[in-house]
């Protein structure tokens, strides 16, 4: 138990006492109690900079299930530190923001902070865990707490829908990821990522390698809202805005990116990884930015923008993984792409968090997030407007904000990719810059939409639910902090690169560094008249043109049929699954006992038949087996009589005949027992048969008249076939079993020792009461229970009327 473990456990422990605080101090907003925790954690992690910077990192191990190789081993390196700072830093800001956003009287804030703290702890666990199973456990905890947070306003139908959707998709991904982890364990024999990395050389040739990679990627893509799993993110916008800002822009959706970066040393350098990650990233980038333009809800714009930016980072992670395929100087080109990925990850967290908070302020102060109703807020909310401009400017990739730098680096990355001459990039490489550039144009357009439609133009106060005014200071402080980071990283990017990016790169590329060396990342604002700069100028020019003419081409979106959208596919698949399984269940769960018996008997025939076939028992049936006793005339007569009686039962027309026939069979069995010299059995069977026939007659007395069978002829035929089949298979099994006598019977022991040990000459009785008395004890107990059951059923019967009422209420 190290301090690192305490730091991860702290949010969980705190979540346990938050409800107490909430109840004890109802007059203080609970958020104030929560706020110190992320701040303290942020300060703690900041103090670890030096350790991480030195390249050593920090390790802590805590045993969990040692016999399965599962432990809570935490490892802090550059990549983890970057995420940990994002989580705690933005967590603190979001907590502050939520204090002013959520009303302490109208909302159940006690619960809100419990969920939020759970999420924070789980997220810290995800990024610090070195053990994949521990990582998975924390991963699912983030899914769970995200589910709870999205459905925070659970009285709204859309919230529940969004929560369920995100849960389904992320948990589906989580399961796939778990399967991938298990495959990795099978290949490497360890769950620890750091112990896997030295085995990389042998890993790539394993047959399970690709599947492990694909399954892990499904998990990462589902969590990070990559195409086609991105559909949950826009619906998750039903969550309170602090949640959207925290989970769905800065932290949780980056868990997938984290995983991809974390496992790059394992999978990177292979063409499958390169293609899967970068192609899906590119597709997401384009699709997200394209879809964002048509949205009319501020948070929906931001959601699709998040999807698109996550795709951008994912694409860069893919491009950067190419560096592992080569040694030497060539790889530096691709290291640049990874640098861009890490840098943009930081940038995105800052500006997207700020933009969500801006959207929340607009929503909070005007009562709506619909851009068709908004407009002209710049004069009313100048500070919020400034934040929006900075955030959106950074999002669109304009100087002097940090988004500009990472976008330039992104362009460099895709341009390098287009010049690649491996991984069959010769054929497809040109696509990368084209798609990336187009997506950037759309990014510019929706960023412009976000700012211009909300804050500029004509004010429409009459359409707004409340009278707009500037937000209170508490709501403005957190976005102010983020926006100042946007500008700071924009103007002095080397701060970020020295403290955050270089250590992170060192943990993504552990094999590319000579011992004692660091990556030297220098991001300069001005890098000459390069192709990237012209691309940016082109983005601004074409983007402005498109924004100016927005109304003319917005009709494009109507062209795609609604039923082709991924949401329709998801809803349809869910509904189809439900309907299909209901139909399947209704098809065989008919409620008819006869049908169920049919299944059971058919299964019996199939299984026993197959087992007999597999063991070769059919061949073992030998009519001339010497162990068979000769058949005497009495036996033949008895068998004939029994057969006649049995076969007449199904053809009897009245119940009375049936009962008599069954009784006849029973007495025939008595005779069999006599014939086979079992006097005790014969006696018991005779009395029991008499009693049961009497009971049958008693029942008969109460039964209604025998009705004509209503089942179809075909069903009867099936019955006949199945019953003949059961008879045949049991007969065959009996013949086959008697033909293969493997062991000597233990009967001789009883015959010899009955008198000697048991003191009785009646061997059956001695076995029953002495040798195997325990069975008898339990059998009389069975009888006792049966009698009590009958007594209870008859004597404790509820009155009729109540019975009927109960029935009808059950049916309705």
């Amino acid at each position: 138990m190290s301090f690192m473990h305490l730091a991860v456990a702290a949010p969980f422990a705190y979540a346990a006492i938050v409800p107490l605080l909430h109840r004890s101090f109802p007059r203080v907003h609970t958020g104030w109690f929560v706020l110190p925790l992320p701040v303290a954690l942020f300060a703690y992690w900041l103090s670890r900079f030096a350790v991480v910077r030195s390249g050593v990192g920090e390790e802590a191990r805590l045993s969990w299930i040692p016999s399965l190789g599962i432990d809570l081993s935490f490892h802090l390196d550059g990549l983890s530190l970057l995420f940990v700072l994002l989580i705690t830093g933005i967590g603190g800001l979001v907590t502050l923001y939520s204090i002013f956003y959520l009303s302490k009287t109208k909302e159940r804030i006690g619960r809100f902070y419990v969920y939020l703290l759970l999420f924070m702890g789980a997220m810290l666990g995800v990024v610090l865990s070195d053990n994949l199973i521990a990582l998975y456990a924390f991963w699912e905890l983030t899914s769970l707490s995200s589910f709870l947070l999205i459905a925070f306003w659970h009285q709204r139908e859309r919230s529940r829908y969004g929560a369920l959707k995100s849960m389904m998709i992320t948990v589906l991904g989580g399961f796939a990821m778990l399967a991938g982890f298990v495959l990795l364990y099978i290949m490497t024999g360890t769950y620890s990522v750091r112990e896997m990395i030295p085995q990389v050389g042998a890993l790539a040739s394993q047959p399970l390698f690709f599947w492990a990679m694909a399954l892990v990627l499904v998990g990462a893509f589902a969590k990070s809202a990559q195409f086609p799993f991105h559909i949950w993110l826009p619906d998750a916008m039903e969550a309170p805005t602090p949640v959207s800002a925290y989970l769905h822009s800065a932290t949780m959706v980056k868990a997938g990116l984290y995983l991809v970066a974390r496992l790059t040393p394992l999978f990177g350098g292979t063409s499958e990884w390169f293609w899967l990650v970068s192609a899906f990233g590119l597709a997401t980038l384009f699709w997200g930015s394209f879809q964002a333009v048509k949205q009319t809800d501020l948070k929906a714009i931001l959601a699709f923008s998040t999807i698109s930016q996550l795709g951008l980072i994912m694409c860069l992670l893919g491009l950067g993984s190419a560096a592992l395929a080569f040694e030497g100087n060539v790889s530096d080109v691709y290291v640049l792409a990874m640098t861009a990925a890490v840098f943009h990850l930081v940038n995105h967290a800052t500006f997207k968090g700020a933009l969500f908070m801006v959207a929340g302020i607009v929503d909070h102060e005007t009562g709506t997030r619909d851009i068709r109703k908004l407009g002209g807020l710049a004069a009313i909310m100048p500070i919020t407007f400034t934040f929006a401009v900075v955030g959106a400017g950074s999002m669109a990739g304009l100087p002097p904000f940090n988004g500009f730098l990472s976008k330039e680096m992104f362009f460099t990355g895709v341009l390098n990719a287009s010049r690649m001459n491996f991984f069959s990039m010769e054929a497809w490489g040109a696509l990368f810059p084209i798609v990336a550039w187009t997506a950037s144009v759309f990014t510019f357009v929706y960023s412009a939409v976000f700012v211009f439609k909300t804050f500029l133009g004509k004010a429409k106060p009459e359409q707004l639910p409340t009278k707009p005014h500037e937000a209170p200071l508490g709501l403005l402080l957190p976005p102010a902090a983020l926006v100042s980071l946007v500008v700071a990283f924009g103007l002095f990017p080397d701060i970020a690169s020295y403290y955050l990016i270089e250590p992170a790169l060192a943990s993504i590329y552990p094999s590319l560094l000579a011992p004692g060396d660091d990556f030297h990342v220098h991001i300069s604002f001005w890098h000459g008249w390069t192709a990237e700069l012209f691309m940016t100028i082109g983005v601004v020019a074409v983007g402005s043109l498109l924004f100016w003419q927005l109304r003319r081409w917005l009709g494009v979106y109507g062209r795609l049929p609604r039923q082709w959208s991924l949401n329709a596919l998801y809803d349809g698949a869910l509904e189809g699954l439900e309907r299909g399984s209901a139909r399947l269940t209704n098809a065989y769960m008919t409620g008819s006992v006869r049908h169920y018996l049919l299944y059971i008997f058919t299964f019996l025939i199939a299984v026993v038949g197959y087992a007999l076939y597999r063991t070769g028992a059919f061949g073992a049936i030998d009519p001339g087996y010497p162990g068979y006793a000769p058949i005497c005339i009495y036996e033949a007569m008895l068998v004939t009589a029994t057969l006649l009686a049995t076969l007449s039962v199904p053809f009897a027309r009245s119940r009375m005949t049936m009962i008599i026939l069954v009784g006849a069979v029973g007495y025939m069995v008595v005779l069999f027992f006599v014939l086979f010299r079992a006097p005790d059995l014969a006696l018991t069977q005779m009395i029991i048969e008499t009693v049961s026939v009497a009971l049958f007659l008693l029942c008969f007395y109460h039964l209604p008249k025998l009705r004509k069978e209503t089942t179809s002829r075909r069903f009867k035929l099936t019955n006949a076939v199945v019953s003949v089949g059961v008879g045949a298979i049991v007969a065959i099994a009996a013949l086959a079993a008697s033909g293969t006598n493997g062991f000597e019977s233990i009967a001789d022991y009883y015959l010899e020792e009955s008198y000697h040990l048991g003191g009785g000459k009646n061997v059956v009785n001695v076995i029953l009461v002495d040798f195997r008395g325990f069975d008898t004890l339990l059998e009389i107990m069975v009888l006792g229970i049966a009698s009590l059951g009958i007594y209870a059923m008859i004597k404790l019967r509820a009155p009729r009327q109540v019975d009927r009422k109960g029935d009808s209420s059950n049916e309705s």
Binding site: I687, G758, G759, I780, L783, G784, S787, I790, Y791
Partner: protein, 143 residues
Amino acid sequence: MRRMKANDVILRTVAKLVVFIILAFAAHLFFAGHNDPGGGFIGGLVTASALVLLALAFDLKTVRKVVPVDFRIVTAIGLLVAVLTGVGSFAFDQPFLSHTFAYKELPFLGKKELATAVLFDLGVYLAVVGVTMTIILSIGEDR
């Protein structure tokens, strides 16, 4: 069992006689069980059939009056006896349900075999009588 004839003297008279024969036979079956066909199970069933005969010849009320016991308790006692014979073997540091037997000289009866297995069989006997009678009486008394 429901519709009694007004005058069935023959049945009743025969029943009075036969019931004792049946009970004696049941006792014989029970005691002979260790060495000859029979035992607690059959003995119990035959005893119950004697009581059923009484019930047929007279009615259930008569049976209740003649044998004024609750047969559910008889079942319980039977189970208890069976379990206790098993537990009793613990007192002699033996595993559960270990039986023993010995030949002893008894007054009036002479040298006889005494087996603890008979005690267990007594439990079986009582349980079977109780079970059978509980079932038949509760069904017979219905409505």
